[in-house]
């Protein structure tokens, strides 16, 4: 299995940055949705791309994957995959407060994904003194058969993915999804440098 080869300190630092990003994103989301968002510490793990893809393809009740590319300065770029289970997708319209017929389920899924990805990554980027731009989010068709193919056709090669398990629980609605950040090796090297810089400032 591939690793980021992060030291214990680097991993702790990354986890803390992600916690803060998640906290601020949740706060923005809560204000936007006008509700309380229960925040669980997101777990992060680095996963071998091959293992991740075969795992996702085999997952029987995965309903939908929304993909969105992001890119910042200094070669920090990647693609965020938001993975939803069937039982959660139906709750999204309640969560977003959409009126019936206001938007299709596909559109709702894309909307919430884009909000989760961009709010989270904006705060994360700010902490590592970067700034992100985003591609339009896309709902991947026929996920089960096509996910591996989609990942193979990405505009950069990568073999390591950072998987951030997010559990959003909103008052009255529980809502789960996984955010998977696929990051090319070059970007990971850059992120490590930033982590080291932050750690050096502290010691």
């Amino acid at each position: 299995m591939s690793e980021f080869n992060l030291t214990e300190d680097q991993l702790d630092c990354l986890q803390e940055l992600i916690n803060i990003a998640m906290g601020q994103a949740s706060d923005q989301l809560a204000r936007y949705l006008d509700t309380f968002v229960y925040l669980e510490v997101p777990s992060i793990e680095s996963v071998d791309a091959q293992v991740l893809m075969s795992g996702l393809s085999e997952q029987k009740n995965t309903l939908a994957v929304v993909s969105q590319g992001f890119f910042g300065h200094e070669g920090i770029r990647g693609e965020a995959l938001l993975v939803y289970q069937e039982e959660d997708s139906g709750r999204i319209s309640d969560l977003l407060g959409y009126e019936p017929d206001e938007a299709s389920q596909d559109e709702q899924l894309i909307d919430i994904s884009s909000i989760l990805t961009t709010t989270f990554l904006n705060v994360f980027a700010r902490q590592i003194e970067n700034q992100m731009s985003y591609n339009a989010p896309k709902l991947l068709p026929h996920v089960q058969s096509n996910l591996a193919e989609h990942v193979q056709h990405m505009p950069f090669t990568w073999d390591i993915a950072l998987k951030v398990n997010i559990n959003y629980q909103v008052t009255d609605y529980s809502f789960n999804c996984n955010m998977i950040l696929l990051i090319p090796e070059k970007a990971i090297t850059k992120i490590k440098l930033v982590l080291d810089r932050i750690l050096a400032d502290l010691s």
């Binding site: 300190d9 702790d12 630092c13 916690n19 803060i20 669980e40």
Partner: protein
């Protein structure tokens, strides 16, 4: 004389950030805890004046520590330092006796400002 301080956070980096933000002459009297259970054990000794407390921690979390302090009727100043910054959470911890709510990442000038406001510096 410098007060005795406890920093409770599961992240080593977060503990360092708080420590660095404290006045130079306090540094020697600072203890640390990596979770709620550890923190309560130290707090029971009764010698802690100021606690900097994270909320999201494995096991007993920050809210659990605040409840423990109330139960044990301990007298000390608690400053919550958290990534979970929603207004509901802020009012919840203040109701449980926290003096202030400080958002992560902690900044030295903000922390010092709060300490001055509460006549601790």
């Amino acid at each position: 004389m410098s007060p005795s301080v406890l920093i409770c956070d599961d992240s080593n980096m977060a503990r360092k950030q708080v420590l660095r933000s404290l006045p130079e002459h306090w540094q020697d009297s600072v203890q640390t805890a990596t979770n709620g259970l550890e923190a309560l054990k130290i707090l029971r000794g009764g010698s802690i004046d100021i606690l900097f407390l994270d909320l999201t921690m494995p096991g007993i979390d920050g809210v659990g520590v605040l409840q423990g302090i109330q139960k044990l009727k301990l007298k000390l100043n608690v400053f919550v330092i958290s990534a979970d910054i929603q207004p509901e959470m802020q009012s919840k911890v203040k109701a449980l006796g926290a003096k202030e709510f400080i958002r992560k990442p902690v900044k030295a000038e903000i922390l010092v400002n709060y300490l001055q406001q509460h006549d601790l510096l």
